[in-house]
Symmetry: C2
Subunit: 273 residues, 2 copies
């Protein structure tokens, strides 16, 4: 009982701590990221295909990594045939395969689904001890709006990170919800590394992942994956407020013929957790 | 009864006529519009804000028309305070005000919601006699996919066009569904002019208008509006297949605080019809 009360109190304090950064964040917001009239090249979340196309087995790579890197130096995604988890950080693209190893990706590798941007942090939010759901809640309180995108980067040492990767799929491709049933899970304790990802508004449901979508890569860039669980301690979270999105849809292939009118929210929830 | 049967037969023939153009359309598709790896500057549907933000009264103009014209020479939208219907055609921007007159818009006018692209037709579809719902159905059968965007242009003489425009709103702004209750309706018979607009896939629900969204401007560019009803006869419909979308969200103002998580499909239906 006492332990429980402490946990609640701790969260409350952390929320208040996060709120304390808000005035500064709001004040700097109008200066720190550009309005749609000028220099938007770096303030764009660039996305290949849609999350629902991925849920419906559109796994053939359509965009070379070389081209993806021209649209951003930071981001996440997957690869041709759903082979592994993508982490783009500091302009380098890594592929965390199902063996848990992060490989540097050749420029001619392709992606069926990815999201990148040029990471220019606008705000830093300090979050003390928090589990994954506390972390998510606290960070959201620092957002000036829930109607734009946020690129999220945390460099540091994490008490706990649980990730997964998925093996390459064979045709006929299974649904994503079935493909991730074969995922391999990795657990890291006191791991130094970088959390890379995005928070997207609810209204991109079906197009990208509403809420958080985070990947991880270790400091030595040798391991990582799609984050399933996370604990932070003294995390300095860098946020890049991103008011623009560019979506490049496939111009041929399976994408043209699938039925994208259905609601796949339940599938997405299974896949992300 | 006989008349009714004729109508059905007529539609069937028209559908078959439309289907007859399909093989050519599909064959040319892969050559005629670029893939996401190269020269995408002109193959982008550029959009300001979201349709649900407009439904929720976000009417303050945020992007100058001068900047909008850099993103496309063709498109539709509205203006600051919801004042009138926008038609962008051949690089010129017109505002059809509630008096029914189309005015050339100064570059410093602003828009809270607009969609433009550079119009480079990929296909032409001939549609003989058809009412609005027949026209919509026939044209859709010529689409190689229902998962990308189409810019639609028809130059010609139309047996019937019914349009509307909406007056400027005062703060506190009413909902769009209430604002259009004060719309003024215009009817054109045997009118020469240009239909300008888009067809968008279902998955942009909440972001843009799924299906057709068409405006009209007369040949002399003196009148027009948002199309409520249309009859075509020997219409040569030009389609620009558009696989990319760039969405520029407001970086301040009412947009930051509205709740965009609701389903406004019913409101949109009322507003469009």
């Amino acid at each position: 009982m006492k332990k429980c009360r402490y946990a609640v109190l701790s969260t409350t304090i952390l929320v208040l701590a996060a709120l304390a950064v808000l005035p500064a964040a709001n004040a700097s917001e109008s200066e720190s990221y550009s309005d749609p009239t000028t220099n938007q090249d770096r303030e764009v979340l660039f996305q290949v295909s849609t999350i629902n196309a991925l849920l419906l087995s559109v796994y053939d790579g359509i965009l070379p990594v070389a081209d993806l890197k021209e649209r951003g130096d930071f981001g996440i995604g997957t690869f041709d045939r759903l082979e592994g988890e993508m982490v783009v950080v500091d302009g380098e693209c890594y592929q965390v395969k199902v063996d848990g190893v992060a490989y540097v990706v050749p420029n001619n590798a392709t992606t069926p689904f990815a999201t990148v941007t040029f990471f220019d942090p606008d705000e830093t939010v300090l979050i003390e001890t928090a589990n994954f759901s506390e972390f998510k809640e606290i960070l959201e309180t620092s957002f000036p709006s829930e109607n734009i995108f946020y690129a999220i980067r945390i460099d540091g040492t994490f008490p706990y990170v649980k990730t997964r990767s998925v093996p390459a799929q064979e045709k006929p491709y299974p649904l994503l919800v079935d493909a991730v049933a074969n995922q391999t899970v990795f657990k890291f304790e006191n791991a130094s590394g970088t959390v890379v990802g995005f928070w997207s508004p609810e209204f991109v449901d079906g197009i990208n992942v509403p809420g958080y979508h985070l990947h991880f890569i270790t400091d030595d860039r040798k391991a990582g994956g799609h984050i399933l669980d996370l604990r932070v301690e003294g995390a300095e979270v860098e946020l890049d407020l991103t008011p623009n999105i560019f979506m490049a849809l496939p111009t041929a292939g399976d994408f043209f013929n699938i039925d994208l009118t259905g609601d796949l929210t339940a599938d997405l929830e299974k896949v992300e957790k």
